[in-house]
Symmetry: C2
Subunit: 415 residues, 2 copies
Amino acid sequence: MHIKAAILAIGNEILSGHTVDTNSVWISQQLNKLGIEVVTRMAVGDDAQAIRKAIQIGEENASILILTGGLGPTADDITKKVLADYFNAQLVCHAEVLAHIQGIFQKRNLPMLERNTQQAEVPDNCTVLFNKMGTAPGMWFSYDQKILVSLPGVPHEMKYLMAHQVLPKIQQTLTDHHIIFRSVVTAGQGESFVAERIADIEDSLPPYIRLAYTVHYRVLTLRLTGFGKDKEQLIKETEHYQSALAARLADIVIAEEEIPLAELVGNYLQIAEMKLGLAESCTGGYIAHLMTQVQGSSVNFKGSAVCYQTSIKHDVLGISQEILDNNDVVSEIVAKEMATAAARKFRADFGLGITGYIDQVPSESAVPPGTVWIAIAHGNEVITKKLLLSYDRVTNIGVAAQEALIFLLKKLRNS
Amino acid sequence: MHIKAAILAIGNEILSGHTVDTNSVWISQQLNKLGIEVVTRMAVGDDAQAIRKAIQIGEENASILILTGGLGPTADDITKKVLADYFNAQLVCHAEVLAHIQGIFQKRNLPMLERNTQQAEVPDNCTVLFNKMGTAPGMWFSYDQKILVSLPGVPHEMKYLMAHQVLPKIQQTLTDHHIIFRSVVTAGQGESFVAERIADIEDSLPPYIRLAYTVHYRVLTLRLTGFGKDKEQLIKETEHYQSALAARLADIVIAEEEIPLAELVGNYLQIAEMKLGLAESCTGGYIAHLMTQVQGSSVNFKGSAVCYQTSIKHDVLGISQEILDNNDVVSEIVAKEMATAAARKFRADFGLGITGYIDQVPSESAVPPGTVWIAIAHGNEVITKKLLLSYDRVTNIGVAAQEALIFLLKKLRNS
């Protein structure tokens, strides 16, 4: 039997769409790693009745409830009062938490306010999860075979408490429940066709291994999820099906693990002891950002020249004025020049250039909107690829950057 | 009385945390604009019982239910079958949808599969929402004073159907229900202190205008939400409180609307007819990416030199080797040189340079980890700011970019 969890995000800003609830995503990932299945996620406003109702729904569906948000010092934060009320508990001042908050204010040389003192109050039936990263303590309630945990909504505080207190405490209560994920990542073929190619493998899956398809722009991921008690056996079986899928789809597989494309590119560069330089026009620094989000990327990533105006392609990259004058700035030859200049300027083994019209095309150009040229220079060779994108601006930037990384990844896998 | 809506995202990939549910965020924003309050958001897996249960919870709490996901051509997509079953309806082939799907496959010169034909089947009690952007039709169910809408999970298809079909149809059923949002955006003071400074204004708010605080790194946003029938009167009242808050907090206000910082910077640059060039080290192109996500940014943004390795600061920006040899690469003087070089290289009125140790510090440096120097060059003046960050890598990059934009925004507001 699976252990089931429910996640409840509290806050008007989440419901109104002013804030994206990334906390629940992260918590889901962490619980999955412990073999706990998240069966429902909910978001409600800072409203006592709505919070109570959501807790009841969570209790009906799961044995572990994780709440985030509503623990701040301002009047709209009511989670703690609702919980005290729900459990018929008294709010009492927690001395250690109070001392910690006083310490924070002393250190910052700020006066302590009544509302800050109140942050040290907790329902008398909870175990305090001491929050080194902020002023709001986490709270752990055990009752009727259920666990309810209330955490602050500030992401780095929530993550700290989950990692150092909640997950270890949950782990103590678990025996043998495991979830295993294994993936095959593909690019270049649509969902229906891939499904058709692997239909017999999908049909042969045992009931405790599920297959799901997820599409992110041009990348289609096939994810196997196995549930079971014998971890080693489960890994073996899930990997058996992973290998079968990867073999069948060998022509479109780009990875057998779900890590960011930029990290895959970085790994291949590192193995080959090669370095990358970029010249970005239409992606405006986004590829550089994706590359540098990866820890340790300075080893293989040298930099990017973000040339958002045509004159800069001459001034910074040194592309000849003649080429720029005689060609559309969105053309194969300009992309090639950018790639070559990127390799040269950054003294890199691979240079990648990308130029395109992401939304609007200037009146003097005959190039269709959404046209993007990507070029990769390596040694004396330059390869190119053309895209024609038709989404909104932000999506087009995302797809163009993704296509560039896929193009580079395929080149690196074949080198 | 408010009209209430519930949003239900369907898909194992959402529950497992492999996909971030941005659809629900966007739908919330759109419904809010129509004056509809989203009272609950839920996410469940591709599981018939869980979907039915979530629909029932939605019906108990709201009169409008929006479902996304589970309409694809693969075996894990079951939403349509669950809905047919829920409404005791038959699945019937919809001729227009079938012709549309056939057209897509013909155009791409691909054979049509049985699973694609099945995408044209819909429950016989629904109104089909024709999906020009893809193969899965949307479905609209009216029953017992309730509206249930089922949409594909692919974001651009969902958005197309919402904008062109769902929202106009909902609007027809509405009379006078309005929600008005007004905001005051601040930087430089903590939540508790701001709350204390405006306590009397907060206490004087009428019950139909709520105040919420949201923190994103160093930016604290105060958002007023007014509910009412008389739109003009409601705007007037909400703006009265907005002005009172802005006047009280004048020293820390950076904006009176919630638009991205990069867009605010762009607007100030455009008014002043000035241009910006960047030299980014530790932010790795992220500031350039934020600037270029804004439509029309090529007017005032010239580019960025992402110099991820020290040697590139000399090779690309032309900073003298002597300065680089005699100073830590994370120092005030190198930041100043980067800002000046960015203004010069990109022929820009404002040059911004940023250099820092985002996570690891090389052994030869005595600078504490998390140290970041920001410099802005304008004319003959260069101003600088130092940060000391202590979060994880990705957060540190985000905070550093945000602080740089705030620093630039304050400079532009005062120029």
